[in-house]
């Protein structure tokens, strides 16, 4: 088939109807631009919220869960093996919260090539005492350097420095707690552990995550101080937090660690499954809006091509009389819509990028992510690919019916009609 000639004819037809062509293309441009801006923004938000989660959640967390022993004595008995056994009043086994052999596990993990770093942690529920009031809270005993490396806690410290935790008997408390207890840097805070031990720690910093529940209860101290408060040795670790280079492998790796180290392990996706739901809802919304916009643009193209066919009946008849087949005529009109789709779509990508850049400049501050200063935008090229494919697809579909109609025009009835 003579592609060049067909394109040439299509272009001449378009040029003769330049205004309508531009209107049709602008429809496509607008929808694609909106689609790109919307998807970029929504996914930027997703990324931001994921970041919020990932900043506080290790990819894989190793811990001991309080639970009943899975192998109850009755299961070992040969006599009752094939029977259905009903057990009542089972109590969880006291294996303690401490991870057995934690030092070795940490050493092995640090050598694992998939692992970015390991941050051991001791969590202890405590009461903060002020006057006669007791406020319940949690102290995280952390390995200051690796914790900061993995979770950037220094981003959330609004007063003081994380490194000051390296001093003995120091603590960083949440903003909510500091406001409630009227304590600031340099003050001493009194603490009672769940087992009744008393401790006095010096406040070296205030942190703010932006989530009241956390800022009201959470505080940080060093691993040593926490172990001392509990009266436990230095191998007492309740959580081992692991970050991986390949974040997608978290689930499989967590299963592997669970079997290998005989501890409980949970990956970040399982721990935060509600985040995933929110992300996919936002994606669906942006794709749906893009689709609706393009459908509207598609109807515009359909109308304009249809009108063009009525106007160009004579030309179609002539083309057919001089040796163009119905198929050729069909391709001429399909080319028309492809040209509109391609031109409108490409411009749409450009404008979409411009809109995204403008949104990217709008200031946006949130206490939970101090590094973010403007609205987040995701510039992933895949959205641009989807956009142009989407544009071509709708315009081709919109052009197909008019094109088929044009291919069926009977030249004799037109020529006679004059």
């Amino acid at each position: 088939m003579n592609t060049k000639l067909i394109l040439n004819i299509a272009l001449h037809l378009l040029r003769a109807r330049l205004k309508q062509t531009i209107v049709a293309a602008v429809g496509v441009t607008f929808s694609i631009a909106m689609f790109i801006a919307l998807v970029g923004f929504m996914n930027g938000l997703n990324g931001l919220l994921d970041g919020l989660m990932m900043n506080r959640t290790p990819h894989v967390l190793l811990y001991n869960e309080i639970k009943p022993s899975e192998n109850q004595p009755i299961f070992l008995s040969k006599e009752f093996k094939d029977k259905t056994n009903f057990l009542g009043s089972i109590k969880p086994k006291n294996i303690g919260l401490s991870i057995y052999n934690s030092k070795t596990i940490i050493a092995v993990l640090k050598k694992d090539s998939r692992v970015i770093d390991v941050a051991p942690k001791v969590t202890l529920p405590v009461f903060f005492n002020t006057g006669t009031i007791e406020i319940s809270g949690i102290i995280n005993g952390i390995d200051v350097l690796s914790e900061d490396k993995l979770f950037k806690i220094s981003d959330n410290i609004i007063e003081g420095k994380v490194a000051d935790l390296l001093q003995n008997n120091s603590i960083i408390i949440g903003k909510g707690l500091s406001d409630k207890m009227l304590l600031t840097i340099g003050d001493i805070i009194k603490i009672t552990t769940a087992k009744g031990n008393l401790a006095s720690l010096k406040i070296v910093g205030i942190s703010e995550i932006g989530i009241a529940e956390i800022d009201n209860t959470m505080s940080y101290t060093s691993l040593n101080t926490a172990q001392k408060m509990l009266g436990e040795p230095t191998n007492y670790i309740t959580d081992i937090q692991v970050n991986l280079y390949d974040i997608e492998s978290a689930l499989t790796v967590s299963k592997e660690f669970k079997d290998k180290f005989v501890v409980d392990a949970i990956d970040f996706k399982t721990a935060n499954s509600q985040f995933e739901t929110g992300s996919s809802v936002r994606s669906i919304i942006s794709y749906a809006v893009g689709f609706v916009l393009l459908t509207v643009a598609g109807f515009g193209i359909y109308n304009i091509l249809n009108m063009m066919i009525y106007e160009k009946m004579d030309s179609i008849a002539i083309l057919k009389a001089t040796g163009f087949s119905g198929n050729d005529v069909k391709w001429i009109f399909i080319s028309l819509s492809v040209i509109i789709g391609l031109a409108g779509g490409t411009l749409g990508l450009v404008f979409g990028y411009i809109f995204s850049s403008i949104i990217d400049l709008i200031p946006f501050k949130t206490a939970s992510l101090p590094t973010v200063t403007t609205y987040p935008i995701d510039y992933n090229p895949i959205y641009y690919v989807i956009g142009i494919v989407f544009a071509l697809f709708t315009t081709i579909i919109a052009g197909l019916f008019p094109a088929l109609k044009a291919s069926k025009v009977d030249p004799v009835s037109i020529i006679r009609g004059k």
Partner: protein
């Protein structure tokens, strides 16, 4: 088989159904040889244009058979017929039909571009030659809406000639032309039949024109009477 026929019809009939069933063409048997210059005459409404549309393969709704170049065209697909029209048939309509989006020259070139036998430069040269012989050389680059009726008609004639078709049909091709240009067209047609052995089948109401052709086909009421 030694055979000099270019066009043959066997029992060609055509009906119109709207508003009432009505037979326009009645069992027409016709045989035309290579190199003939034929005029078709008859009263208005007797079916001359209808016959020409059938012979040009554009109208496929008929009974009987049509053979072009000893090849049965009845029942061929739209695509095959388009190729035959492009290669073998040149057509000048009763009303000049040109593409408004192109210049006169491009209009002439278009069927040639579709055929793809010559390069674009060569086609342009050939189209220009045809326009010049029709005294249209100076109008070649004008858009078609800038041309007079007679000028449009001559562009349409040049377009019909561009692919050197074996068969050229015209439906009152000189209807809009003055005596001088009408004679010019006649001479061109005559030369084509004599020198290139091309065949011409021309519907005309111009008796002088008809008198000078090799053969006159007279139609009445959908039949050929002589």
């Amino acid at each position: 088989m030694e055979n000099n026929t270019i066009l043959e019809t066997i029992g060609l009939s055509k009906y119109f159904y709207d508003p009432v069933k009505f037979q326009v063409l009645k069992e027409i048997d016709l045989k035309i040889n290579h190199g003939e210059f034929i005029s078709v005459v008859g009263k208005s409404g007797c079916g001359k244009s209808t016959l020409l549309y059938l012979l040009s393969t554009m109208d496929t709704d008929y009974e009987g058979k049509i053979l072009i170049d000893n090849q049965l065209v009845t029942g061929k697909t739209d695509k095959e017929l388009a190729i035959i029209r492009n290669e073998k048939i040149g057509f000048v309509f009763q009303f000049h039909y040109l593409l408004a989006e192109y210049s006169a020259l491009k209009n002439v070139m278009l069927p040639g571009m579709k055929l793809g036998k010559y390069s674009n430069e060569e086609l342009e040269h050939r189209a220009m030659e045809h326009l010049k012989t029709l005294d249209m050389g100076d109008q070649a680059l004008k858009m078609t809406n800038q041309l007079s009726g007679g000028q449009k008609q001559r562009v349409a004639i040049a377009r019909a000639l561009i692919n050197d078709p074996v068969l050229i049909m015209g439906d009152e091709p000189t209807g809009n032309l003055d005596k001088k240009n009408s004679d010019l067209v006649f001479d061109i047609f005559n030369k084509l039949t004599q020198e290139e052995n091309q065949t011409l089948l021309v519907v005309t109401h111009d008796n002088d024109f008809a008198e000078r052709t090799n053969r006159i086909i007279t139609m009445e009421d959908g039949k050929i009477i002589s």
